[in-house]
Symmetry: C2
Subunit: 414 residues, 2 copies
């Protein structure tokens, strides 16, 4: 597959140019890309229909089709997203610190792009646009490898984005799509250490696993969220109910949705029937531990597998725990370090929970659904990192950069 | 190898405790560890002699023995190093930012430890002490896997450090050494994703390569330095000579030593003979390109392999380049993103070089030898990162940490 290394080589080459574009040049190009998207609406929708027909023919699930489908509204949202990225502050070139050492050396720490970012994702055409915009604004070249189910949509979108780049005077190679959608092309991408600086997989647990196991390039793991809500013995019942229902049902298919409810033993008899009835009315399937089963007879029994599962669906697992320690242990054992919440009126429990839970984001009396770049005031994000290296939680523009030391001397030796 | 996962499990368990130790508790323990080292001097030296005898019997190279050998002075230096780490500011618990969102959510970004750090290194007993001290001070548990050639020294050192931990009231599992020095134990360590948060290999190119190729854990690559010095047509000859000689000969075995000299065509005829004669007098072997050979007949011809090689020895490769562009291209092609220097009196060249060179540290008119935690004012360091993810250049305490968002609400839902 010579073509793949050619893509990498081109990206690497152009990345040293993109790194030095002015903020204005990048913003102007983003606006051109936005305009091109709107203008090419018909073409994009036509190509998207091809993907949809194939998906329907292959009997793909409703959730798959939901993520794949584009319409006027969605294209408009993508175009607006590009304009939003243009308004975000540009981190590139910022001087983080400048110190003078006793020997006269001046050490400057300067923000620079990562270089070339590889993004591997599933059949979600909006990622093609979002990822391109964010990587580019942060001064990086991007190599996209989207799911095969969206290949026609992705080809159309990248063609249109390149048209915007052209109008903005930016080389085509800034955004490249790998059109070979065989698995081997993704695997080969993961080995291209000479050309790709960082790999960001966006998708479900199995995609992330494949990337972690195969990549020779540094990876930022994103988006697997087996999120919990712990309702302690001092929690306000109304607040707990609202938070659990919001976290589970407002958008079950996203990574910051809750998957497990943990509840303190002493309040379970009064709280559980109320919360679970309401969840059930909203169409949520309940899978509980033995103690839950006794309080809510209609529920299924949760297995060990349930505690590990990110349902991304109208299903919730529920467990009665003795105390906060058991809750924390459960979460640190089964969680994916994404978003975890406690509902409590006890300050000490709030403190203990936020201290001891090992996750990117820990909530006290709020829904896990807030883990999101916009909600955090960071603007658009490329994903939610669940690892501790480099970036944690929502990754905005700044998280798509690195730094460099520049040292000015006048002949110093050591 | 059940014992290895047991080590991982213990480290993980204890890491959530270490994360919350007060700075004073950690500093007191570091002082106890320092005292224990001094007290156990004889024991450590005895065990070190065992390693040395084996190494001599196996006919190991002088450089290997140099790194392995301990004496009173070196033990004192390690003990002082522990005291120095105790004086460094503790990054843990720092609030990086705190914002209130329009919906009333308060979002706090707090510095936390990475968790469990695995360190894989060669037969250098001092790394056992340095890495333990830095990881611990930054609130992490550490799992050490040193080279087999230093196993007796490492066992002795870890035993003594644990004695210090005991005196400081810190659990033993804070510092653990993998005593199985078969390669498979290192490979198995690299797969322990459930227990180890970050892996830091310290050593030569082949060690780093093995880790990158096998690790399922996020890695910070460190320490491979194929560093260059570019002397441009405006350089001050005296300054250039001093810098080249310092960067090559002051300590050739370290990663920030220079390996290649690039020189602008127009000054090569006058500068090269002077610089190369002096290098040669200091015992440095010269390997030059064809143009160098014409100006300095005694030199060997450099091959493609030379441009890639980190000699870590009294050898230098030398190339005449047309201009700064050729120099930058050469460095970005063969460099390892460690430390790169330009000697110039031309401001524009200085700016261009520092902008376009892709490396952790770029020097203008100074020796590459300054890439070092102490020289940067960061204090002790665990290594020099040559990747762009997470940390770049010298990694001090702060680079051994991550962050966490803690969000306080009063019932917010989305």
């Amino acid at each position: 597959m010579r073509s793949l290394s050619l893509i990498g080589k081109k990206a690497k080459l152009i990345s040293s140019e993109i790194a030095h574009y002015s903020t204005k040049k990048k913003n102007d190009a983003l606006k051109c890309m936005s305009g091109s998207l709107i203008k090419a609406e018909k073409f994009i929708l036509k190509e998207n229909i091809t993907d949809l027909e194939i998906a329907q023919h292959e009997g793909k699930a409703k959730a798959f089709l939901d993520r794949l489908i584009l319409d006027k509204r969605r294209i408009k949202a993508m175009a607006e997203g590009l304009l939003t990225v243009a308004t975000l502050p540009d981190p590139i070139g910022e001087i983080e610190s400048r110190i003078e050492r006793p020997n006269g050396l001046c050490i400057e720490k300067k923000r620079v792009p990562l270089g070339v970012i590889g993004v591997i994702y599933e059949a979600r055409p909006n990622v093609t646009v979002d990822a391109s915009a964010l990587c580019f604004k942060a001064g990086n070249a991007v190599v996209l490898r989207g799911g095969s189910g969206a290949i026609n949509s992705n080809k159309a979108l990248v063609k249109v984005l390149k048209e915007g780049l052209r109008k903005g005077g930016i080389p085509f190679e800034t955004i490249q799509l790998i059109e070979d959608t065989e698995k081997r092309s993704a695997i080969e991408l993961m080995k291209m250490r000479d050309y790709i600086d960082v790999l960001i997989p966006r998708g479900g647990a199995s995609l992330i696993k494949t990337v972690v196991e195969n990549s020779l390039i540094p990876v930022i793991e994103t988006g697997v969220g087996n999120c919990h809500i712990f309702v302690d013995e001092t929690a306000d019942l109304e607040m707990a109910k609202k938070i659990v229902i919001n976290a589970k049902t407002s958008r079950p298919a996203v990574c910051n949705a809750a998957e497990t409810l943990l509840i303190a033993e002493s309040v379970a008899p009064t709280y559980l029937p109320i919360i679970l009835s309401e969840l059930e009315e909203l169409g949520v399937e309940i899978r509980g531990c033995d103690k839950v089963k006794k309080l809510f007879l209609k529920c299924k029994i949760a297995t060990e597998k349930d505690w590990h599962t990110e349902y991304l669906d109208y299903i919730i697992s529920v467990k009665v725990v003795k105390n906060i320690n058991e809750a924390i242990n459960h979460i640190n054992k089964y969680g994916t370090k994404h978003s975890e919440a406690i509902v409590t009126q006890n300050q000490q429990n709030a403190k203990k929970f936020s201290k001891e839970i090992d996750a990117a984001t820990v909530y006290v009396n709020a829904s896990t659904r807030f883990t999101d770049g916009f909600e955090f005031g960071l603007g658009a994000e490329i994903g939610i990192s669940t690892q501790k290296l480099h970036a944690r939680g929502p990754m905005g523009l700044r998280e798509l950069t690195s730094y460099k030391y520049i040292i000015y001397g006048n002949g110093q030796i050591r």
